[in-house]
Symmetry: T
Subunit: 73 residues, 12 copies
């Protein structure tokens, strides 16, 4: 392992189906523009209510990714 | 949209079945006495353990609801 | 109920399958060395990403257990 | 002054015009259902953006009011 | 125990006599309008000073109470 | 509304004229490189003092924007 | 009441006898060098242990005092 | 610029007129006893309510000032 | 004094009689299994309510103790 | 100085050699893709342990940089 | 990698020589009673002053270690 | 040891050379106007960047000192 530097981006994923799906949607979307995703940390969990039910789960998370030489780790 | 004012109440929902069900129980119960629920924010996640298993999931959340004219938004 | 004293230990559980399973794995493992587990509080939720998917859910929690006379409560 | 007890309620005020107006709208609305308001504390400041401008300022605040004998203070 | 839902209210109790009395005054006052009080959590401890002595202890606390079926627990 | 994903960026706006102008400057500048801005949250308020007066208001805020299909919401 | 400005100082009081006495010792000592003390806020509660007992209670608090014209309020 | 040391003092400014004026009042008053003020950071925003309106805005801030050689920077 | 290393454990003490007694019960119980206790820091103060009175005070604290050579300090 | 807007990015630097080197590695790497770096703030300090020694220091920091006209300051 | 569970312990290391040495002393001491140390997180940095110089650096950190099967990772 | 009262002041030290030197500069400067310094606690670590390198380390710390009878401890 070399002396890696990572960058963290904050995203909010949403899902009709649940907490985990909102996180997975966020990671999936981030992977379309950033490579070498490594880890995530949940920052906040919220949701939108319609007709007294959870209409959308909304989870904010920080996603860390490797900036350099990720294959040499 | 007019200049809405919202109120937030804090409730703790519990469930034998899981994290999301505890949140949905809390929202369902709040909807019996308050109308026009709009969003929730998770404050704390705890649980009660019996015989080395999670007996009750306990999730504290703030629920926001519209105080006025909600249908005119 | 007598005047109980409880101890809290912090553990991080991991699971391929999800958030709740990571918590249950942590409690299950703690129960092998500590008796009289009573409650848990989630401290932090993180995860490890591989090939743009959540490979491991990692949940840090404090677990409280009774230090004395738990059967006399 | 007797030994007062106060209650705090959390509200979110919104305004097209600015930060202070959002707070004043929240206090004005709270005063319609609660008497003897005494103080407020700002909890969070957010806003909604439309066409790259602040469309609504949204300020969450706790408002404290006296539960008893307020005129005898 | 059924799947209870609890509500939390925030109150500030004051007392000339001390920290604990301020908490007990807050709980006593809350019990006049809310039933089935279950627990409290201290949020903040402040006080008012007159002539270089503590004139009033002021303790803010959240009080949790059961919303349903409390006798069936 | 589809299952949106949002990204949050943190910026610090400054203004000679005041708190709100610093926020609006930050949003205005962000809009030059990012589209579909949706909301902001104030993180910190500071300022620079010259000759015993506020020379610059400095407000750090997170700005959230939609990553996909914003017009189809 | 004019437009007062207050200053806050942070002090740590200690006492062999208890929590409240540590606070009162801190206020009493502060009053020897600063006039017009108005309020305090507890920041942290710690203590020093000797022979398995609390030897000294140590309470850190912020004390607010009026900088000008306190008698004209 | 030499290796400066700064001191921070915490003050609470109040104003009938608004948020920014409370901050400016605090800085103005601090400048009467301390020289070389450099920056401020807002710590807390509160207010006093009379007859359902904001009677006084109260803003607590830390003010930083240079302890040495400020003109040689 | 040599270069000491300390360990911190988190415990929750409870007492029918009050805040301080809950802390002292926690320290007393910890002293039965750990030697060389040095200090404590209060983490959280809660309580259990029965019939509208505080039935049990519950104080969570971290207790620090010396791991080595405590008599040579 | 004009009315600058700054952006903050969060990065995690790592180093075998120590705390400061991890920060400097993070700044050095950020400078390859972003110009006009102005300041940093440490968010979190962690490390990876191998064979009971610190193998990698890992420091997360926010780095602020000027978005416009940096040479005209 | 199997579904690992980790435990975290909090220790305070001290050193006459500096910040990093205090952390390394804490890890070295922890390694004498716990195996399979994996990572640390700094919680707080303090120090003891004698004759206007830092006599002891004191760093509190959480150390995580693997509870099971560490060699099979 | 008598029942000491301590005061805490917050200072920001800066140094071209590093993190520890910034702390030591702050303590050294504080010792010129205050006697009987006892301990410090780090509040925040920042730095100023010039030409993509750390030009100044800036560490904010609280310094505690004894208000009375320090030699009789």
């Amino acid at each position: 392992m070399t002396e890696q530097v990572y960058k963290l981006v904050e995203v909010t994923g949403s899902s009709k189906h649940g907490y985990q799906q909102a996180i997975e949607n966020a990671i999936n979307r981030a992977s379309k523009t950033v490579r070498h995703l490594r880890w995530f940390q949940v920052v906040e969990t919220r949701g939108y209510i319609e007709e007294d039910k959870v209409a959308y789960w909304q989870v904010s998370l920080k996603i860390g990714f490797s900036l350099d030489n990720p294959d040499q780790e």
